[in-house]
């Protein structure tokens, strides 16, 4: 069976309880005139030290998964189902209980570091705040740990930079600072929402390498949400492909990339121009547009654009079928 060396290592560590277990996660939003379902029946689990990629385009709901887990769902959103971290339910926890978990056991980094770092507070202070709040560490010890973490994320002249403001950092450095903040309390789980999308490609390469090294070294599990299949191929052990708020397929990275089963995954991989391609004719495309969530019926959200579609695809949602480490949701294809 195809798999990365690292994924094999992770499985071999054979921990009894998964670090993270998501079951039946459904998220609904209510707008002034309609109600739409951003996520339907999402379920997956993660082992410690694993890097999971969640891939999707507009309307896939990928960011909502992270926001829901962190309790950052918008006012008009409702989440149903279960999210268990170390066996403990964290979904819909009241904020005082949730505050003890997020920022320390489960942390998140965002796409735009400029808006997620407080522009009016020195970077050092933002880091020490985390330590004071979650670890009860204060004063010079907090400063020492914070500076050490900045060095750890390969920010040069870390000590000096503690006293600077976010706008004095470059994009890549801000992202590193955010990663530092997220890792200060040695979380078990790091959620990353398009962390390198806003960065230049050379900076992206550095950040991805940093994330991989840090995750490996500290055993932190990472959920990486992105639209970029190249980033997933670079960093992840497993990948979940999302469309219209549902899981289309998932599995170990090599399996899904070299033997994609779902027509959407296949279409996506075929239609992407690659850096190393040789032919330059028409790209095979997936016809149509990304889904409009409010217009989806109960069937497969990909149905309208699918080359294999049949009548029943529109009305009946294909159940997620498991075979070994892979899962697939499609009427017309089997694993």
């Amino acid at each position: 069976m195809l798999s990365t060396p690292r994924a094999a290592e992770v499985r071999a560590s054979g921990t009894a309880a998964p670090l993270l277990e998501v079951q039946g996660l459904t998220v609904r939003f209510r707008t002034e005139r309609k109600s739409l379902q951003a996520l339907t029946d999402i379920g997956f689990s993660m082992a410690p030290g694993e890097i999971l990629g969640i891939v999707g385009e507009s309307g896939s709901g990928k960011t909502q998964i992270l926001l829901t887990m962190m309790g950052l769902l918008a006012e008009n959103g409702r989440a149903f189902g279960s999210v268990k971290l170390h066996g403990e339910e964290v979904l819909n926890l009241p904020s005082d209980k949730l505050d003890r978990i997020r920022g320390s056991r489960m942390t998140m980094i965002f796409q735009d570091p400029m808006t997620s770092l407080n522009p009016y507070m020195r970077v050092g202070k933002q880091l020490t705040e985390v330590l004071v709040k979650h670890r009860g560490v204060g004063g010079s010890e907090a400063v020492r740990q914070a500076a050490a973490m900045l060095e750890h994320v390969r920010i040069p002249e870390a000590q000096r930079r503690m006293g600077m403001y976010p706008h004095e950092f470059s994009g890549g450095m801000r992202q590193r600072a955010m990663i530092a903040m997220a890792l200060l309390c040695k979380p078990a789980l790091l959620l990353a929402d398009e962390p390198t999308t806003a960065l230049d490609v050379t900076v992206q390469a550095q950040i991805l390498m940093l994330m991989r090294d840090l995750a490996r070294e500290s055993g932190t599990s990472v959920v990486l949400v992105t639209h970029d299949l190249g980033v997933v191929a670079d960093l992840c052990d497993r990948v979940i492909v999302l469309y219209g708020g549902r899981i289309m397929e998932d599995g170990p990275i090599d399996d899904v990339f070299y033997n994609p089963k779902h027509p959407y995954t296949k279409g996506l991989l075929r239609s992407m121009p690659r850096l190393d391609e040789k032919t330059h004719g028409d790209l095979p495309t997936i016809p149509g547009q990304p889904p409009v969530l409010s217009l989806l019926s109960g069937g497969c959200p990909f149905e309208a654009r699918c080359e294999l579609r049949q009548d029943h695809c529109k009305s009946v949602f294909p159940p997620l079928v498991r075979s070994g480490p892979r899962r697939l949701s499609c009427h017309e294809v089997s694993l």
Partner: protein, 334 residues
Amino acid sequence: MNGQPLLSVQDLRVHFGAGKKLFGKAATIKAIDGVTFDLRPGETLGVVGESGCGKSTLGRAILRLIDPTAGRVLWLGEDMAGLRGEALRRERRNMQVIFQDPVASLDPRMTVGQAIERPLITFEAGLSGEERRRRVQEMMELVGLPRTWAGRYPHEFSGGQCQRVGIARAMILRPKLIVCDEPVSALDVSIQAQIINLLMRLQREFGLSLLFISHNLSVVRHISNRVMVLYLGKVMEIADRDDLYARQLHPYTQALMSAVPIPDPRLERQRDKLLLSGDLPSPINPPSGCRFRTRCPIATARCAAEEPAYTPFGKGHLVACHYAGTKPGDVSHS
């Protein structure tokens, strides 16, 4: 096809004042600082680079949406600097633009039909409303939009559809050149391929030249005939597409290529990424000599003292580096 290039850019410079200081010299941002290239009819030139390289400024300067500070832009042999006001406006029908944010590039208060029609009203005032309508519908079908949607508003369309509208609007006067400023970067991956195919088809059918500005090297590889790499307002390397992707001679190009992720897990695990050190220098105060030297793995004292000139390396392949092609272990992407 005669030998004369459609567009010839010579030592173009675009500098912006960055605020006046009470004492001392006013700071200037040298967004474009000496760019030279030719574009032939029917050719696509890919312009790549990261933030601060000036590629967007280049596009706008060529279209005269910004005025160049120095250098020449020759359009069909004529110096465009001489064109002003009315004469410049009239020349615009031959060079159009497509933007990165397809929805923002359309007036939210106009229907898409009106948006596509507008260049006809501007330049072909003699046409009847009926004739204009016919041409708009013809254009919509050409870009793959149902003609019945002409009465709709931009916010009712998806990003990809809005981009088609933008392309229809740019194409309606049959221009010779279209400057594409990151035309697919804001679109979903599954839609990017549709738009790329459309652009390539239109280019073939109408003999268009495209100045394709993008940070996405994979897309640029697919669509371009020639590729130019910019860094901090200067050209690092320019070559025919296949030559550049097979063998990069400039250390920046090498690093850029090696950094692009490829959706191929095994390949990714094997690849060596050439990582650049340091940060992008300030465009107000670029490094002396070669601008790239502060992050370059093979920079020497000579690089600080002397700015490298364009050196030819085989047909049409120009590199601005003292040590071009001499680094062992060129990363090949063939």
